[in-house]
Amino acid sequence: MKIESRGLDFFYGTAQALHGVTLGVKTREIFALIGPSGCGKSTFLRCINRMNDTLDGTSVRGMLTLDDADIYAPNVDVVKLRRRVGMVFQKPNPFPKSIFDNVAYGLRLGMKLPRTELEGRVERALRGAALWDEAKDRLSASAMMLSGGQQQRLCIARAIAVEPEVLLMDEPTSALDPIATARLEELMQSLRAAYTIVIVTHNLQQAARVSDTTAFFLHGRVVEVAPTDTLFTRPRVKETEEYITGRFG
């Protein structure tokens, strides 16, 4: 298992948002988290790269591992963890910098790469995010000039430029139109060859289309985890069936 969660509890202050979450994400699969708003999908995702650490008063209990190493062990370097586990947010959030500087941002943080190497890596990341053809002639233009779909692909390029192992995506297409969404789903299929992807989505068709495994969350608990086609065709639990047939949520 690439990522394994066993009995994970999470608290915002005293409010418990996750209750004993247990699931496993295999290497190079696309793992989808579905469930109604407020059920804890984002909270779980943000545990994996410890983004919840940036909020005051949060605490974790239980076990969460990456390659069998405890993510919350006291000796873990959060900076190194976040380089191994990249994240793409719901709303495209490129920096108000040039396209090039956006992609190069992570590469410039820890090390000083020679210019040619930096350019090569930026190009590779843009190609990987299927943005190279549209961006190659205006790398020094502001990222704010790109369309929403292009901005989201830029954010993916920015995340994969540092060559992480895992990509976390929190509703990455919810701010995009259907065409941009289709392009991004296509991109996810090509990224699966190199990355383990955990995606939160509100869109059940999307989960069904892109993912290998799906977990259904409800009220901070995992109700059911199963291969995606099984979960959508023969759910074992009544709540799962009610949710995927649209009876609540």
Binding site: T54, V79, K80, R82, P94, F95, K97, V162
Partner: protein, 342 residues
Amino acid sequence: MEAAEQVSVPRDMGGGASRRLRERLIEAALALAAGSSVFVLLGIFGVLLVNGVQAFGTGDGVSLANLSADERAMLSEAELAELGRHTEHAPSVGADFLFSSHWNPTSSVTAAYGVLGMVVSTLIVTLLAIAIAAPVGVGVAAWLAYVAPPRAREILKPILEMLAAIPSVVVGFIGIVFVGPLIARVFGLGNGLNALNGAVLLAVMALPTIISISEDAIRAVPKDYVQASLALGADRWQTLVRVVLPAGASGILAAVMLGMGRAIGETMTVLMATGNAVAMPGSIFDSVRTLTATIAIELGEVPQGSRHYHLLFAVGLVLFVMTFVVNLVSDMVLRRGAPRPS
């Protein structure tokens, strides 16, 4: 075109005419307000220009010949004699005004009218003040917006803003009795009333504005950027320096400009704290006198209409042009640095 407009008229049902009239009136009022500020600005420039240019060339200024009988009657014998001599010995004012640092407008024998020393003094004091106030102010603002616990901010921000309420005379007084002697002691100088002293005090007076406005600018940077940066493995310091400050740069620059604009206007402090020496400064430890201080000191004593009087307007004109250039340049920097809108 016309047909289309006519077709649209009937759709303004009821009250259309009075609404249009009201909009016209509002537009006119706004145009008047905008226009009046331009008029005031042009008016000030005009007064400075008309009075200032009269200082140049020879033979104009006050002489016995161009005083009216009434004006002559108001002057004493001694003043008349002084005026006569003054006009006779006054050299012509030309390029020396800008390129000489010799300023001695009241002397009857060796009158000299060069403002270069004051221009340089003004630049030294102002730039030094910015060099002190900008990093300190932006640093404090970043700390308040980004690091400090909310409680500390709630207490500190009002206190900092109260700094702005200290009258400039009081700051000048503190400069004379405390900061000046401290500078003299630290740098081993005989006299602490110098350019550095003035700059430190101006910086202190600019700080509340710089801190308050740049804190708002830093706070207005979307949290999304911070999240994205942290998720890429940046620490908080890298995030601040590489993302937050650049994203807030236009607001921060505006804060520095406003802070300095306010401080530069504080003539009284500079006048009291800088030692009042009209000469070309050799270093930041020399006593200086700025353009504003010169006007403030000399304008009260000068006979109206005299060459010296007109010279002080010319000094004001120089100050006006300097301020204008600074504003223009910072505006251009802001325009170029701002991210283009999406």
